[in-house]
Structure formats: structure tokens, C-alpha cells
């Protein structure tokens, strides 16, 4: 059985608990154990980098060092947490003096960063570590006819990764196809949802969300699939505000990709946290259930 140190991040504790439950349940189906990272702390989000980058690195390094202690690679379902931990590891490996200083701080918690634990985004675990064939093998109720807009957002792919063309990603589409759904040609799939601007610069963020919803609706999507709690909240929970602000009439369900995989695996919607949406996902569930294989 494959095992990872699971870093839920602050959002998954409550706001995105459906992502948490659906991740655990789908991974269990695939014989992967997510062992929660012992006494994890916040990744620092974007705010820490506004104030002190060394402090931001320290927060992430503490989590990485803890994963090393558990002798496991870390997996993060949130793109923001993932990017912070991934780039912290890269910076510390690149700059020994920096790593030395951060380790001096971590000594106070009996931890040490060496870089031995890799950082993975949850979607990478599905696509690369487990593989599409293994995912396909567990599908009992393929989501035939469901038109899904696979929304990558930003920080799974960016900043630049050396071995990857970040503008040409196609694995999200492939994953959705593997569970029987029809991935639509979602032109804005790599564009930003506005992230924390939804709080700090509301109007700007709402206009970005509107563009995404507009594009997804135009290509006939029935649901947007996300891989990040911030994207999910912006696209779904603020959809009503978008409608108020721009006089639009969007009613687009936004689910985590793990919830869609769970439905295809035949897991009960409730176990996947479906039912806590502000934009009902009933239509998606009906479609998934109407055509059992």
C-alpha cells in the first residue's frame, strides 16, 4: 500500500471539508493511505511573502521536516500550499546558507530539513503516481455524457517547472476522460480565479471569476472541476455575487475533481461531501447516477 504524509492545509479543515473527505475516500479506493502530517502548521499562504520571506520558508520547512521524520513524501490538495512547499524545498536545496539558517530555527522544535521528502500535488498523485489505468480500473459508474470544464488555475503549474511545458498541460482532461466524462475545451483553464483578491480587491476578483464562468458556460460545461479550495470558493461561493455585480445568471456547479472521481467510483455523494455547495450539484449527481454501467 502506497502511503503519503497528507497536508490538509487550513481550508480543508472546514471551508473545503468536502475536498478533504473526497480525497481520503477516493485514495482509499486506490489503496493509497493519506497519513495526516503530524502537528502541521499553516503554509503561510501568500501573506507571509509580503512581510518576510525567510519566515515564509520557515513555516513550510517545518512541515517538510516533519514529513521527513515520518519518512514520507508530502501531498497537498491545495494548490497554494503545494506551491509554497514545493518552492521552499527548491530554494532551500539551492541555497545551503539559507537551509542552514532555517535549520537553526527548526532546532527549537527538534526538526531538521534535508530535502529527502518530495512535494506532490494531489492531482499529480492520481495522474503520475497511481496512473490513469489504475484509476480507470476502479470506475464502476463512468460519468458518460457529463461535460466537465477542467480548471487548473495557477499554482499547480506555475511558477515554471523545469521539466514541464506549463502552458500545454493536458493531464486534467485525461483524468476526466479516464472516469468517463467529456472534458470540454476550456480556453481559460490556466487563468487565475483572483485568489485572495476576493478579499482584498473584491471587484477585480469578481470580474476574473465572471470571465471564467462565462467561458465555461459558453463551451457547454455542466460542471467545473477544480483542484484547489481557493478556486472552488471563488468560483462557487461568490457566484451569486458575480450575478449581482454583473447582472449575469450563472448557475454552474463547481466540484473538486476528487468528488467527480468518487462519483465514478460509485461512492455515495454524501461520503464525498456533496450537498454542502451553495450552487447545487444535484444535476451532476443525477447524471452520474442515471447511467450505471
Amino acid at each position: 500500500m502506497k502511503k503519503y504524509a497528507y497536508f490538509p492545509g487550513c481550508s480543508l479543515e472546514k471551508m473545503a471539508q468536502s475536498y478533504h473527505h473526497s480525497s481520503i475516500e477516493t485514495m482509499r479506493k486506490l489503496d493509497v493511505e493519506l497519513e495526516e502530517l503530524e502537528d502541521w502548521n499553516c503554509c503561510g499562504a501568500t501573506a507571509y511573502f509580503h512581510v518576510d520571506e525567510l519566515l515564509a520558508y520557515t513555516l513550510c520547512a517545518r512541515n517538510l521536516a516533519q514529513a521527513e521524520k515520518q519518512k514520507l513524501d508530502v501531498v497537498a490538495p491545495c494548490s497554494g500550499c503545494y506551491k509554497n512547499m514545493f518552492s521552499t524545498r527548491a530554494h532551500l536545496q539551492h541555497e545551503p546558507a539559507l537551509a542552514d539558517h532555517i535549520n537553526y530555527a527548526l532546532e527549537a522544535d527538534n526538526l531538521k530539513f534535508t530535502g529527502s521528502s518530495a512535494v506532490r500535488h494531489l492531482i499529480e498523485v492520481f495522474v503520475q503516481d497511481i496512473g490513469l489505468d489504475a484509476v480507470k480500473a476502479k470506475v464502476t459508474q463512468p460519468l458518460k455524457g457529463l461535460r466537465v470544464a477542467p480548471y487548473y488555475g495557477c499554482q499547480i503549474l506555475r511558477p515554471r517547472k523545469a521539466d514541464e511545458d506549463v502552458e500545454q498541460a493536458h493531464y486534467f482532461e485525461d483524468l476526466m476522460a479516464a472516469i468517463g466524462a467529456t472534458p470540454v475545451d476550456f480556453e481559460l483553464k490556466l487563468r487565475c480565479c483572483g485568489g485572495a483578491l476576493i478579499i482584498t480587491n473584491r471587484k477585480a476578483a469578481l470580474s476574473l471569476v465572471r470571465n471564467l464562468l462565462d467561458n465555461a458556460a459558453k463551451v457547454g460545461s455542466q460542471v467545473i472541476a477544480t483542484a484547489c479550495p481557493l478556486c472552488q470558493v471563488n468560483l462557487e461561493c461568490y457566484q451569486k455575487l458575480v450575478n449581482q455585480e454583473f447582472g449575469t445568471n450563472f448557475n454552474m456547479p463547481v466540484l473538486y475533481f476528487t468528488q467527480l472521481i468518487g462519483l465514478a467510483f460509485g461512492l455515495p455523494p454524501k461520503q464525498l461531501g456533496i450537498g454542502t455547495e451553495l450552487v447545487s450539484a444535484e444535476s451532476v449527481v443525477c447524471l452520474a447516477r442515471s447511467k450505471p454501467s
Binding site: 487550513c10 472546514k14 471551508m15 511573502f49 518576510d52 532546532e107 522544535d109 515554471r160 485568489g195 470580474s207
Partner: protein, 190 residues
């Protein structure tokens, strides 16, 4: 003996010391501004391309008065597309730090207040807690926005998606000692 730095060198000094982030190689092609979803929406008073030009021209006061970097959502699309290899998103972080440290943040901007509240909260508990974040900036919003926010929060609460109590990490004392070794200042408990 180093000469007195230009504004460009000052800003370059705030960025990654090891990898460097050479702003002087910018050729003003505008790929960053065209890529930026916030700039192309017309929300920034100066586009990323313009900000770099202003830094290179030494227009310090105007750069520090600009809202550009507080409107950056850190999506890194500009960074991966820059043909000259400038890490523009990191530059925005650097400008935020510069203004925070030099107490040059502008009145009425929620960005700096939000960052400060967020950072403070994690220093104290190790984790973030949405309701505290919400109240910190609520008063800086206008009345319609405040009502919108309350509506969204209520809907989320009804669906069980907002936490009632903040989470704390277990080894909080050690955690604070760790942070104090990086920033040797005061006591986070005071």
C-alpha cells in the same frame, strides 16, 4: 566600496539574493501586462510593464504610490511568459515587502491590512482561521460589500463550512521559538 544604489538596485536587493532578478534586462515588450488578468481588466493604475519601466527610470515615489502590486494575485502567468526571465510575480512580492517595511502602504488598501492580520494570526496559533480574517477587513469595506460578505458567510455557516473555533497546533511553544529565531523580536504572546 559599493556606490549608492539606484532605486532599481534597491528593489533588486529586496528580491532573491541568490538567484538574482535582473530588472534592467526588461525590453518593454508588454507580454506581462497582456498576460495579467487583473491589468487587462483595467484594475491596476500602472501595468506590470509600466511598473518595471518606472523602477528602471528611478521614479520611486510614483512606484510606491501605485496599487499595482497589491492587485497582484500571484498567479505567476507573467513570470512563466517573460522572454527575459524576469520573475515578475516575485518582484510584486518584493515591492509589497518594501512598502510594508518602510511604512509606505497607502491608506484604504485592504491588502496590507489583510497580510498583517494573517501573519499575526499564524504567529499566534500556527493555523489560519477564516472568521478572524473576515472581521479584520470588514470595517474597511463599504456598506454594500459588508452586506454581501455577511450573506456569503451566513450561507457558508448554514452549510457547515465555517469553523466555530480556531485551530491550534500542539507544539505551539516550540513553534513560537522557531519563529523567534528567524525574527528576534518580542514575545508573540504579549
Amino acid at each position: 566600496m559599493a556606490d549608492k544604489p539606484t532605486f532599481r538596485e534597491e528593489i533588486a536587493g529586496v528580491l532573491h539574493a541568490s538567484t538574482g532578478n535582473p530588472l534592467d534586462v526588461c525590453m518593454q515588450c508588454g507580454t506581462c501586462s497582456a498576460t495579467c488578468p487583473v491589468a487587462s481588466g483595467g484594475f491596476m493604475d500602472n501595468s506590470p510593464r509600466r511598473i518595471i519601466a518606472m523602477i528602471n527610470a528611478g521614479l520611486k515615489e510614483r512606484v510606491l504610490k501605485s496599487n499595482t502590486y497589491w492587485y497582484c494575485a500571484s498567479c505567476y502567468h507573467c513570470t512563466v511568459r517573460c522572454p527575459r526571465g524576469i520573475d515578475i510575480a516575485e518582484l510584486m512580492y518584493g515591492l509589497k515587502r518594501y512598502t510594508v517595511w518602510h511604512a509606505k502602504t497607502q491608506e484604504g488598501m485592504i491588502g496590507p491590512v489583510f497580510s498583517e492580520t494573517f501573519v499575526k494570526m499564524i504567529v499566534r496559533t500556527g493555523r489560519s482561521y477564516e472568521p478572524v480574517l473576515a472581521t479584520s477587513y470588514l470595517f474597511t469595506l463599504g456598506v454594500p460589500e459588508m452586506i454581501q460578505e455577511a450573506q456569503t458567510a451566513t450561507s457558508l455557516m448554514l452549510k457547515g463550512r465555517l469553523p466555530l473555533l480556531p485551530a491550534r497546533i500542539k507544539r505551539l511553544d516550540n513553534f513560537k521559538k522557531v519563529l523567534k529565531r528567524i525574527i528576534p523580536l518580542g514575545d508573540p504572546d504579549e
